[in-house]
């Protein structure tokens, strides 16, 4: 339970603006604007992380999502022609909306229906060191697998985009 009034106010402000930004991603016509709102959403989500006492994850979120993925997406948009920069919907708009609403309803129902085993503990103390420990002790195998995956993804991305017959 988080009941420090400052944090509560911060949470609601951040949460509302994050959801509004996410809605703008769905609503705006211009793909570049959508990326910008997406970056704002990422920053807002990082704010929610901070409220949830995960400041290290929040910083990584800003670094990876808002910085890297945002730039990557803008880049991808620029590599495609100007005519394709609208963010229009397909014919699946209505079914998609229905499905999304359904998911929202179910998750909300489950969230309120379930009896959660809430622990009364305080926020975590500084998490960076304990996260590092977790990565290198119990989760060392997944950690290494992720690093291999990142390497593979990097090579894969290079292979996909490079010119055929390019010797470099």
């Amino acid at each position: 339970m988080i009941d420090d009034a400052g944090v509560v106010v911060a949470f609601w402000v951040i949460a509302v603006s994050t959801v509004v930004c996410a809605l703008m991603v769905a609503a705006v016509r211009n793909l570049v604007h959508a990326v910008l709102f997406l970056a704002l959403t990422f920053v807002g989500v990082a704010g929610i992380y901070i409220v949830l006492a995960a400041d290290f994850v929040a910083l990584v979120q800003v670094l990876i999502y808002a910085g890297a993925v945002g730039v990557l997406m803008t880049f991808a948009i620029m590599l495609t022609p100007a005519a394709d920069r609208r963010n229009s919907e397909t014919i699946f708009q209505a079914p998609a909306a229905v499905l999304a609403g359904l998911v929202l309803a179910i998750v909300t129902f489950v969230a309120y229906d379930t009896e959660w085993r809430i622990s009364g503990r305080d926020a975590f103390p500084a998490t960076a060191a304990s996260l590092g420990e977790a990565f290198l002790k119990p989760y060392v195998v997944p950690f290494e697998v992720v690093s291999v995956l990142l390497m593979t993804a990097m090579i894969g991305a290079i292979v996909l985009t490079r010119e055929e017959g390019d010797d470099v």
Binding site: A15, L79, V103
Partner: protein, 110 residues
């Protein structure tokens, strides 16, 4: 302070925010025409999942409460890799088909 509605943030509140983000992401990824737009929806959903992970990590009784954060980190790492590959795919598809509109890319082979 208790007289004010919403004076505290409960697990359910965070879960609903996560659900909202997830459903927006789902809508975006299902309805958008542009491949990059779809990718945005996917990223939104991954973020929503992360919010949920961290919410459980913060609130729920557990012997190893930090596991939620560790999972979130893994999700971020994999999402970064996925974004790189997906955008490379989008660029590659554009190069072959001169479009990134999903409804025009309807052949399994070209």
């Amino acid at each position: 302070m208790s007289s004010v509605v919403l004076a505290s943030v409960s697990l359910e509140n965070v879960l609903v925010i996560g659900a909202l983000l997830f459903s927006i992401g789902l809508y975006v990824s299902l309805s958008k025409r542009n491949a990059v737009g779809i990718l945005m929806g996917v990223e939104l959903m991954l973020n929503a999942v992360n919010v949920t992970f961290l919410a459980f990590s913060r609130y729920v009784e557990s012997p190893r409460p930090l596991d939620g954060q560790v999972f979130a980190m893994f999700v971020i790492a994999i999402a970064a890799a996925e974004a790189a590959v997906a955008l490379a795919l989008a660029v590659a598809v554009y190069r072959h088909r001169e479009t990134v509109n999903i409804d025009e890319i309807d052949l399994l082979r070209w």
